[in-house]
């Protein structure tokens, strides 16, 4: 799967939890999920579960601790698909 395709899916999964729509409009790999998109940290679990379902992968809890940006998500998922 292409990285751009993964990124598109990642953004789609994040979208319902995003509070800052302007940040979402100019989303990039460097966009920080909590600080820029203002996603509630408690929602990260839901996001990770959605990644697991969408890409049919398993993500270890320890890996989640290192996820800060959209790019981190794309890298993590790319390693597993």
């Amino acid at each position: 799967m292409e990285a751009s395709e993964i990124q598109e899916q990642v953004v789609k999964i994040l979208t319902p939890y995003v509070k800052d729509q302007q940040a979402l409009a100019k989303v990039s790999l460097e966009t920080n999920i909590l600080e820029d998109l203002k996603v509630n940290s408690a929602r990260l679990v839901d996001v990770v579960l959605a990644f697991e379902d969408a890409f049919d992968i398993e993500i270890a809890d320890d890996d989640v601790d290192e996820v800060n940006t959209v790019g981190d998500c794309v890298r993590l998922i790319s390693e597993k698909v």
């Binding site: 408690a42 929602r43 679990v45 839901d46 579960l49």
Partner: protein, 152 residues
């Protein structure tokens, strides 16, 4: 590896206390499900204002009671199962989300039973399907609640 708390100890480990305690009893507990009960005290002060001459238990308190009868004890139970006691005790579960619908009212003196079924438990977050019923089985409120364990 931790241990399975029994119902009596679980009650002592639900942190909410008077005047904000809305759980009397844990009737059943297992990893996927918990059943809790609470009787609404007719003398509770909020009935004077909600509503004068027509006391109805406020919906926000029903939601709180659903959490105290379900998400909170189940999160405590699962934490103690997974972690050593000293580590499990560090966490307190706080409300993160509620999406519920009311379909009935609760009068002073009514006893309600809340059934909570785990959807997921991950990274100290518990999300669950929850249903509150009167003793005759009438559904009062149903939906999903979630809470996450944070360091006290």
């Amino acid at each position: 590896m931790g241990r399975a708390l029994d119902r009596a100890e679980l009650m002592t480990r639900i942190p909410q206390q008077e005047p904000f305690r809305f759980v009397d009893e844990i009737l059943e507990i297992e990893e996927e499900r918990v059943l809790g009960a609470y009787r609404w005290r007719p003398e509770a002060d909020f009935y004077r204002g909600h509503f004068p001459g027509n006391p109805v238990t406020p919906g926000v308190l029903l939601v709180e009671s659903m959490a105290q009868c379900g998400v909170v004890p189940l999160a405590v139970y699962l934490s103690f199962l997974e972690l050593e006691e000293a580590d499990a005790e560090k966490f307190q579960t706080l409300f993160t989300e509620a999406n519920v619908e009311f379909s009935g009212i609760v009068r002073p003196g009514d006893r309600v039973i809340t059934e909570t079924r785990r959807i997921y438990w991950r990274r100290r977050k518990l999300k669950a399907d929850v249903e509150m019923r009167l003793e005759d089985g009438t559904v009062i409120c149903a939906g999903q609640l979630a809470g996450i364990g944070v360091i006290r």
